[in-house]
Symmetry: C2
Amino acid sequence: MQDFVFYNKTKVYFGKNQLDNLGTEISRFGKKVLLVYGGGSIKKIGLYDKVMSQLEKAGMTVFELPGVEPNPHHTTVNKGAAICRKENVDVLLAVGGGSTIDATKGIAAAAKYDGDDVWDLVTRKASVTETLPIVTVLTLAATGSEMDGGCVISNVDTNEKFGYFGPDNHPDVSFLNPENTYSVSAYQTASGSADIMSHIFDVAYFSKQDEMDMLLRIQEEVLKTVVKFAPVAVKKPDDYEARANLMWASSWALNDFLYEGYSQATVCHAMEHELSAFYDITHGHGLAILTPRWLSYVLDEETAPRIRRFGVNVMGIDASLSEMEGAKEAIKALEKFFFETLGLQSRLSDLGIDDRNFAVMAKKACFGGVLHGFTDLTPDDVEKIFRMCL
Amino acid sequence: MQDFVFYNKTKVYFGKNQLDNLGTEISRFGKKVLLVYGGGSIKKIGLYDKVMSQLEKAGMTVFELPGVEPNPHHTTVNKGAAICRKENVDVLLAVGGGSTIDATKGIAAAAKYDGDDVWDLVTRKASVTETLPIVTVLTLAATGSEMDGGCVISNVDTNEKFGYFGPDNHPDVSFLNPENTYSVSAYQTASGSADIMSHIFDVAYFSKQDEMDMLLRIQEEVLKTVVKFAPVAVKKPDDYEARANLMWASSWALNDFLYEGYSQATVCHAMEHELSAFYDITHGHGLAILTPRWLSYVLDEETAPRIRRFGVNVMGIDASLSEMEGAKEAIKALEKFFFETLGLQSRLSDLGIDDRNFAVMAKKACFGGVLHGFTDLTPDDVEKIFRMCL
């Protein structure tokens, strides 16, 4: 069992009637705020007006950065940072899903950086020394960015997508109202749910490490939460119980509690980042396509017991099956869940992706080396897994 | 489902080799530290020397308050606060179990209070406005005080024992090394384990509220962690895996995550505080004696399903039993666990307690009214439960 440090400073307001606290919380950090959001869905659901009304009541001066892309671009981050420097912004407010929050984390660091390109920070050419405070209002249960310290930024010029963890990059305050996810489409709900599950699979559950028993079983309960409530939310988008469970599962699937002491490559995330860097697909959908094929590829005597345990404890497969048969059934059950129950397309070819870039993507996914995880993967292995997904 | 706020600022260093970080962490708060500890067991296990060596390396000036009692006295807290005021102490360091940490939280508030008696703060005659920073080194898995905002202080002059939650009373940093609990006796390990379980029972699990499914099932996993590892630690005190799981279960059983949105009287804790206020018994042992009798007393058509669910999901009883039969079996299984597996004495009379104070204790337990919880309890109900424990 590894030693670890747990620290999570994010204060979460969860529930239906919490946005009244936004003004008080945000004005703790100053009077000038940069409001960051995406394609405008927050205007359609009336959230933009509610947020602006709170900011106005609190006497805030508001600057805006709309149009953050899914898989947010480093150029957008640079634009936000330039506004912050020019206007002496005190605090950032992200209203949206993981992409908006990730872009905001990038801005928080870039605004305090002497250079003018956040890509220097993402690629570790320069270090993050200071960040602006961050408040978020979440609209999608998926990435966990609302309560964790990481973010992922894309460079469309170079087809690169990198995660980075700055010091103190957790949001200071996050507002989680499940009602704000009622308008999320069945497709995005399904993809977000795959993302939540993949965080647990990738960072911790499918691992060879010596683990703390309590955490392993709590990981299974969070996974079961998604398996239970994602289909409900897909069918009945305004089911509060389903949306609430998914939203809180999203935060706890990546806020460090479940991962204490783990240190391994997040294999499916590394592979998926190449897919969405090259093809700009929805991150969670890419993960759903990759995960069962990855598990099939790495299935052997050593990995079978954990995969079978997942099948029995999370997917409810027959507990009397042998290790190997149970593991195979577990993978089938996961495929059925993603591609039938949640209705996600199952193949990369469904998304118009062919194999022309697989070799270079596989090499990049391994960062020029080998991915150390549940089993170690070389670029050759990764390319084979990509092919299994075609 | 209730709205809630989650915020927990405690930074936790968990594991075998973390104490080297003590100097850096503690000197962030200043140069003068008050070291608070209990009866001296920390000297026997060599922890005192290790801590002092770290403080010395960090150039700290150390004042000491030894001799904190189990069920810490308000007079001891006042003594600590007086040292802080006289010596302009910057930061408090608690090395011990829940009593030592609770006393330290009292000192943190009392040191910044204009009056000279912490009892004014505990009884809400005066408000806590500011507190000293707190660092802890934990030596007992039980109370969860290492990662929560509450503390319980006793007044031996008036036979009163009250919990209080100051603003920002969470420790700033806590060091959790499971090896520091190897020397904890079988009796204290068993009592501490009952305390961990009772936090979950009392604050959340045995409740009528509309709950979040994910949290309910995670509560069960933390309970199962105790059921699995407490007997191991009782028999093999230096089993790292068992001690680590119990220690982390202790922190998460009371750090707010499992309790979001709950608001009910912590019935067994209210009753037990009277027992230990009048008879100075070990808190966790009192809870173990009370809990199954309380469950038997409140068992009816309405409470049976949750009690049976506990039996099936946590204690492993036969899932085919009816609600009422299952609930009865669940209570029997819990009694067997506390009084046979963990070896705790099962009756108040075993601890030399008779019924002479029950009427006044019952009235005090209800704070002059009714305890609203799983079922509402009047002083008359509480007195009957005390009698069931004789």
